[in-house]
Amino acid sequence: MSAHDHAEGHADVHGGAAHGSFRGYLTGFLLSVILTAIPFWLVMTGAIDDKQVAAIVIMAFAVVQIVVHMIFFLHMNTASEGGWSMLALIFTLILVVIVLTGSLWVMYHLNANMMPGLHDMREMP
């Protein structure tokens, strides 16, 4: 297979899908090592006393790391597949947010309101 064939075949198969480079993979890897190590260290040593703050901080690290993986390993960008993969990703993210926040929110309030002894049922409408 000549170099020309090679390049042409690629253009045909994945129109414009970005390719990784050694530099890109290494950057992604180093970033994700750092972004993994810090939250583990935070929880293992208990560096943040307030548990709620700690939870928010490690969630933030997870979100950043997911974005890093998307860019450097999954090669997401707005141009690949004519923007359709990005559109599918955004749609999925919206559904994921609705499912997660919706479930947690509804079930939290259900638990809070269904605690026995919390309400006098005769007073309920």
């Binding site: 583990f40 999954l74 990703l89």
Partner: protein
């Protein structure tokens, strides 16, 4: 004048423009991405179930009694290493070097196997201590979520071995390149899901 006479005499012909031919596999990557997005929704449901049920211990063991963060950290490292080695496999594939690609794929598979072994060890340890899936709602949702991810990794390894056999037989032909790229997306996607698992299940579980 002559030309107008000729065109006036013949019937005008209209062509339905035919859809131009698509290269074989031209839409595979997008299709596979859509599959991954639907897989992502499966995991979102399992995460939601864990988020709702994760606090219901039924007077049984809680995350603090069960999870060993050192083990989870090693497990996470295995999956991260396998991600970068799969990246190297893709880079050598782009250069058309069959032997190097096979070697990196094998290393990736070994890291995947290490991840699975550690996870199975963790599960068996938990079950040995009486923390079985039927013990509490927390454990049911935990085993479902983490087990589903482990099952994905298992199938990823099966797929990896299949593709290594394919490459050994037919070399880095266009179809094999496409398949390897699909598996690359699958493998990196599993790593992304694992970020959610170790953050949401293990680290937040220890904070609880």
């Amino acid at each position: 004048m002559a030309s107008t006479a000729i065109t006036a005499g013949t019937e005008p012909v209209f062509h339905l423009e035919e859809e131009h031919a698509h290269a074989e596999g031209g839409s595979t990557m997008l299709g596979f991405w859509l599959y991954l997005m639907s897989d992502c929704l499966i995991f979102a449901m399992l995460f939601a179930a864990y988020g709702v049920l994760g606090g219901n211990y039924a007077a049984g063991p809680a995350p603090k009694d069960l999870f060993d963060l050192d083990l989870v950290a090693v497990n996470t490292a295995m999956l991260l290493f396998s991600s970068i080695t799969y990246g190297f496999a893709m880079l050598t594939m782009d250069k058309g070097r069959v032997a190097a690609t096979q070697a990196w794929l094998a290393v990736t598979g070994l890291f995947g196997l290490a991840f699975l072994s550690i996870e199975l060890y963790e599960f068996s340890h938990m079950i040995h201590e009486g923390a079985t899936p039927q013990r509490s709602a927390f454990l049911s949702s935990f085993f479902t979520l983490v087990g589903t991810h482990g099952l994905h990794v298992t199938f990823g390894i099966v797929w990896l071995v299949t593709l290594m056999t394919q490459v050994a037989r037919f070399g880095l032909i266009e179809a094999n390149r496409r398949r390897l790229m699909c598996l690359s997306m699958f493998w990196h996607f599993l790593d992304v899901v694992w970020i959610g698992v170790f953050t949401f299940v293990y680290l937040m579980g220890m904070l609880r």
